[in-house]
Structure formats: C-alpha cells, structure tokens
Symmetry: C2
Subunit: 221 residues, 2 copies
C-alpha cells in the first residue's frame, strides 16, 4: 500500500496549502517537499496540477454528494409526498456539510477550498464542479422550491445565492473573523457556534418580505 501513502500524503498536504495560499500561489515543489515525496510524483499520479486540484475537491465532494443524496432520500421518505419544511432542508444540508470533513477534522479547510473555488480564476475548476456535482444541487433547489411556494422563482434563485454567499464567505474567512471576535468579545467561536448563529439569519433571509416592484428607470450599463 505504499502508493496510497504517497497519493494520500500529496492530497493531505496540497489541500492545506491550497486553502492557506490559493492555487496559483502554491507550487508543486512546495507541496512535494512538504509532503516528503518526489517532485515527479504529482505528475506521475495525477497527470497535472489541474488534476491535482480537482482530486482535492473530489475527495470532499464525492462523499458529500453521496451522503446528501441519502439524507434527501430519507427526508422524502419520511415526509411521504408532504412538503419538507425549509428549516428541515437547511438543517439537513448543514448536518451533511458538518459530517463529511469531520472524519478528518478538516471542516475549516473544506470551507476555505469552497470559497477559493468561487473566487479564484481557475475556470476549469468551476466547470468541473458544475459538471460533477450540479445534480445534487438541482435536486436540493427543487425541494426548496416546494418549501417556499410564496417566492417567485427568480426571487428564490437569488435568495439561495445570497445565503450561499453568507455561509461560504463566513466559514471560509473564519480564522480572521474568529481572531477579531475573540479579542473583542472574549468568545471562543467554533464552527458549530457559527452554524447555530447562521440558522435564524438564513431562515429570516429566505422568508423576508418581497422587494417592491422595480421602478422604471434608465440605468447606465
């Protein structure tokens, strides 16, 4: 099992370094030297740096997708055709997000990676994630649609992305924010604390009153 050792050591080291510095700012030489493997090992096992990046994400997203589908299956069976409440859907997603990386105590890394996937250029990554994991997101949004029938489709689309932004932004920048919070409020903040704080905010955001109709007004592009 020596090869698993090398592949795993590369992945473990790469995900931490990527989360700390970003993709472009992390060289293969930094990864391989810190992982104590040969420089050529990355290209040997993964083919390229791009594939390494995708492999780092797959190691999180594959188990997440599987568990989330199972959790939604259970939910649909339990509610048997009834509409699943929005809070239940959100809690299920939060629980799944918490469970998957908990196996390696790396929720923080996972969240930072998700934030990077959205913000860093890396067009290939966005395409890869969209293609490989778009399905489970589509299933989830359809359930959210049934849970929020009062929302116009476009409004629900935007609000889902609003709360997605809140969660990814907060959890991926957690370290810096935690430092400030601990200094100013003498609170030790865990990820679970944050999710506890996020829940009522997210629910209130999704259930906010509809905005006024757009005023007819010219706008410069």
């Amino acid at each position: 099992m020596a090869q698993t050792d090398t592949v795993t050591r590369i992945l473990d080291t790469a995900e931490v370094l990527f989360a700390e510095r970003g993709f472009a700012e992390t060289s293969l030489r930094t990864i391989t030297s810190k992982a104590r493997v040969n420089l050529a090992a990355v290209n040997y096992h993964f083919g390229s740096k791009k594939s390494l990046i995708q492999a780092v994400f797959s190691r999180y997203l594959d188990p997440f997708t599987e568990r989330f589908h199972l959790a939604l299956d259970e939910l649909e069976a339990r509610y048997a055709g009834e509409v699943i409440p929005l809070e239940t859907l959100l809690e299920t997603m939060a629980r799944t997000v918490l469970e998957v990386p908990a196996e390696r105590n790396s929720l923080k890394v996972f969240m930072k990676l998700l934030g990077l996937a959205y913000s860093q250029a890396q067009g290939h990554l966005r395409r890869y994630i969209q293609q490989e994991y778009g399905g489970v997101f589509t299933r989830f949004t359809e359930l959210v649609r049934q849970a929020t029938p009062q929302l116009p489709d476009a409004e629900r689309f935007w609000r889902l992305h609003f709360v997605l932004g809140t969660v990814i932004f907060t959890l991926s920048g957690l370290d810096a924010l935690r430092d400030i919070a601990e200094k100013d409020y003498q609170e030790h903040v865990t990820v679970r604390d944050l999710i506890r704080r996020l829940r009522p905010v997210v629910v209130a955001a999704m259930n906010a009153p509809l905005p006024p109709a757009p005023s007819v007004q010219a706008e410069a592009g």
Copy 2:
C-alpha cells in the same frame, strides 16, 4: 500631462485584468502590453506590483471613504442625536457604494476587486485596507450598534459579517450568476435590481430572532 496618461492607463488596465483573473494570475507584461506602455513604467511609477495593487484599491476607496464620511455627517446632523434607523444606514451605504464607481461605470469591477481582496492570499492587501480604511467601518458599525440595541454585541458583529458576505459574494460573482438567471428566468439583472432584492433580505437578516443559547457540548477542534 503625459505622465497622468500613463499612470491612468496602467490603473485602468490593471483593475480590469485583476478583476478578471486575480492578482497572481495577472502579470506586469500583460498589463503593460495591453495598456500600451513600457514594461518598466509600472516599477517606475508605482515601485512594485504590490504598490500597483494597493493603488488600484485606493483609487476606489479614497473617494468612497470621503463620501461615506460626508453622508454619515449629514445623517447625524439630520437626526440630531436621535437614533438613525437601520434601513437608513444600509441605504446610505448602498447609495455611496453605487455612486463612487458610477463615475467610471465600473461598479462591477469594484465589487470583483473587493471580493478578491477578501479571498486571495495577498496578506499585504488586507493589512493595507484594514489600516487605511478601518476607521470609516468602525464609525459605521457604531451607528449600527445604536440602531440595533436589541442585539448582543457579538451577535451584531457576526450578522454584519453575514450580510457583508452576502453582498460581496453576490456582487463579485455577478456575471456568472447573471448568465444563469437570464437563461432560466428571462430577466435582465442590473446591479440596482440586485440591491433592490438585497434590501429586504439584509434587513430581515439583521432583525432575525436570536439563536437559542449554545448547548453545552464538546467539540473536536
């Protein structure tokens, strides 16, 4: 005024390229060739790439800070010691954010840059922004504190960052989201549309009920 031409052309080109690709992925050669200036011009006028990045931000944040201070002055004068309502504070901030880059029709670029400032490594940038523009943010949060006396300090701190995440995440990733939204809902979405949609969501988020007290439970770090 030939030197202003070169400096301005560098800044105009750099901010667009930075917003499109990020900082590390944008080389000085790409900037200078696209701006049709000499490669050495960047180091001549700005000293280094780091200083160029900071200059790009200053060109937005200096006018923003000045206008925002003025707007808060007016608000405090108008309310004369009375508490300024939360919605008024948020609207004032939104209006200022909209006004500043409107002079160059580059709100989208500005938002992308803000998103990058948070997500890309670039520790020097975060330190620079914090140091140069932390004051106006402190003033704003103090007014928000007076407008939301029902919130514990820590809770308000986190909620402000929640909504900050929503706004930056949404507006900085606007292009990709707009493509999806237009395809699925046949809507042409402008930044002003988004801010109209954001307002009730943000207000509801800030006024959400308090989370339940944390359950006493061990957590793995």
